[in-house]
């Protein structure tokens, strides 16, 4: 019995849905709900985590993200401009920097600042400074490549028109090129901020005073201190979404506005 193309397409969709539902039902059936409920959903025992989880943890996660991003953005812009420079040593330095910090795990850079620096120079920087420098260096490597791509995506004619009107190179860059590049780099930049938000969770490795805990540290401490299984981590995860989902929504709003008008 031959089927038409549309019948076959409908058949295939039905099979996919049935498979999907079957897998979900199987998973639900396999799970030991008594244990899982204790491990993941013991929300009633989390009282002691609050309000510090929000007043300290959420606040610090946001704080670390902002300072790391600010540092990474400034350094990334500098590296992007160096990578486009006509002076070759600038390009070499920027390339080496980007390859190095893009290639090693962020946690190693954090450890270098937290434990390596005191041994090398005998100075101990405050935790937020260590986090800002370590995550800023790593994100600068990614941001530099994003910005360079964005700046180079603005047509050369824009710079030529600006220079022809008597604008110095820096003015053409500031007034004509960067505003247009900003719209191009917005989606990848949103990605970068979201990645950075999650990377601040690595700060727990440095250990610190309670006032400097971020959300993952609270989650980990909650596991050992509260009789609630892994539920504290579930809560920490939900709070990350509280930060990242609104970020995505705001970025998408910007994007659709830019797409609608092409400017």
């Amino acid at each position: 019995m031959a089927m038409t193309t549309s019948q076959r397409a409908r058949m295939s969709k039905t099979i996919q849905i049935v498979l999907f539902v079957a897998i979900i039902i199987a998973l639900i059936a396999i799970v030991d709900w008594k244990k899982a409920g204790y491990a993941f959903f013991s929300f009633n025992k989390l009282g002691p985590m609050f309000p510090d989880m929000i007043l300290v943890g959420l606040k610090n996660t946001i704080f670390y993200t902002i300072i790391s991003f600010a540092f990474g953005l400034a350094l990334g812009l500098l590296l992007a401009l160096m990578k486009m420079a006509s002076f070759a040593p600038y390009r070499w330095f920027a390339t080496a920097f980007i390859e190095f910090f893009r290639g090693i795990p962020a946690i190693l850079v954090l450890l270098a600042f937290g434990f390596g620096l005191p041994q090398a120079f005998g100075t101990q920087w405050p935790q937020p400074v260590n986090v800002m420098c370590a995550l800023g260096l790593v994100s600068a490597a990614y941001i530099a490549e994003t910005l360079r791509a964005g700046l180079q995506a603005v047509p050369k004619g824009q710079t030529e028109a600006a220079r022809s009107l008597g604008m110095p190179a820096w003015r053409a860059m500031l007034t004509i090129v960067i505003p247009q590049a900003f719209k191009i780099v917005l989606p990848p930049m949103t990605n970068e901020i979201i990645l950075l938000t999650k990377d601040t969770s690595l700060a727990f490795i440095l250990g610190a005073a309670m006032a400097q805990y971020e959300m993952t540290k609270f989650g980990r401490d909650g596991i050992s201190q509260l009789d609630a299984g892994l539920t504290p981590l579930v809560v920490a995860g939900l709070f990350y979404l509280v930060i990242t989902i609104p970020l995505s929504l705001v970025a998408r709003k910007f994007e659709s506005r830019a797409a609608k008008t092409k400017r």
Partner: protein, 260 residues
């Protein structure tokens, strides 16, 4: 479009080019060009693509760095390494084939951004001057629009108004109608013609032979990086002396006639 009612006074400058050379690697694009343009004169550069005419034009405001020779523009020695290029470019308007309007700025902002940021004009003054030039090109009511809301011909007219808003003493046109739909070519040429009549010094790279014949004081035919023939527009186009000029004009003026 009544552009004649809206004349501006032009303080025109001349251009003196001598021995100009430009190479890209081993490819020599300009092989020693001598060309003078008197203040208020309109000179059209014609020639096949790859002849170096656009490169020559772009050398005049140093968008391309020449390898040899000298260029004097108004009071500026453009090829002097010490020259203040930004100051010089304030006096040299440039109109591009692809318009190159700033897409993130309104039409009016396109015409005021450089006067405000570069000439340090007050915003109201810059707007007043820009509006008069937009009216001059027939787009007085389009100030609040964005470039992508305009037709190609309208965008090119804005580009001309943008250049004029700097009150230049010399205008360079790099194939200003080549990217336009045929029905919008005329509106751009009409504005260029009125600008020529107002006394602006103009150096125009173009394939519009009718325009060159009617508006240009002088036509320069280039091929292979050298000036092959130059003279009064009617003579070079109407009665070319050099075989290469004759060959080129036959192809341009009678495109369906092909020697195979």
């Amino acid at each position: 479009m009544s552009t004649d009612t809206n004349q501006i006074s032009v303080n025109a400058a001349g251009v003196e080019i001598s021995g100009l050379r430009k190479s890209y690697g081993s490819n020599e694009v300009l092989k020693g060009i001598d060309l003078n343009v008197a203040p208020g004169e309109v000179v059209c550069l014609i020639g096949p693509s790859g002849s170096g005419k656009s490169t020559l034009l772009r050398c005049v405001n140093l968008l391309e760095q020449p390898n040899g020779g000298s260029i004097l523009v108004g009071g500026f020695n453009a090829t002097d390494p010490e020259v203040n290029l930004d100051k010089m470019r304030q006096k040299v308007g440039m109109v591009f084939q692809q318009f190159n309007l700033f897409p993130h700025l309104t039409v009016l902002e396109n015409c005021t951004v450089a006067p405000i940021k570069v000439l340090k004009r007050k915003k109201v003054d810059a707007q007043k001057i820009a509006k008069s030039h937009l009216e001059r090109v027939g787009l007085g009511d389009f100030g609040e629009r964005y470039p992508d809301q305009l037709s190609g011909g309208q965008q090119q007219r804005v580009a001309i108004a943008r250049a004029l808003s700097m009150e230049p003493t010399l205008m360079l046109f790099d194939e200003p109608t080549s990217a336009l739909d045929p029905e919008t070519v005329g509106e751009v040429l009409a504005i260029m013609k009125s600008l020529a009549q107002a006394g602006m010094t103009m150096l125009v790279v173009t394939h519009e032979m009718a325009f060159a014949k009617e508006v240009a004081d002088r036509v320069v035919f280039m091929d292979g990086g050298v000036v092959v023939e130059e003279g009064k527009a009617s003579e070079v186009i109407g009665n070319p002396q050099q075989p290469r000029t004759q060959d080129f004009l036959r192809r341009v003026l009678d495109p369906t006639h092909v020697d195979i």
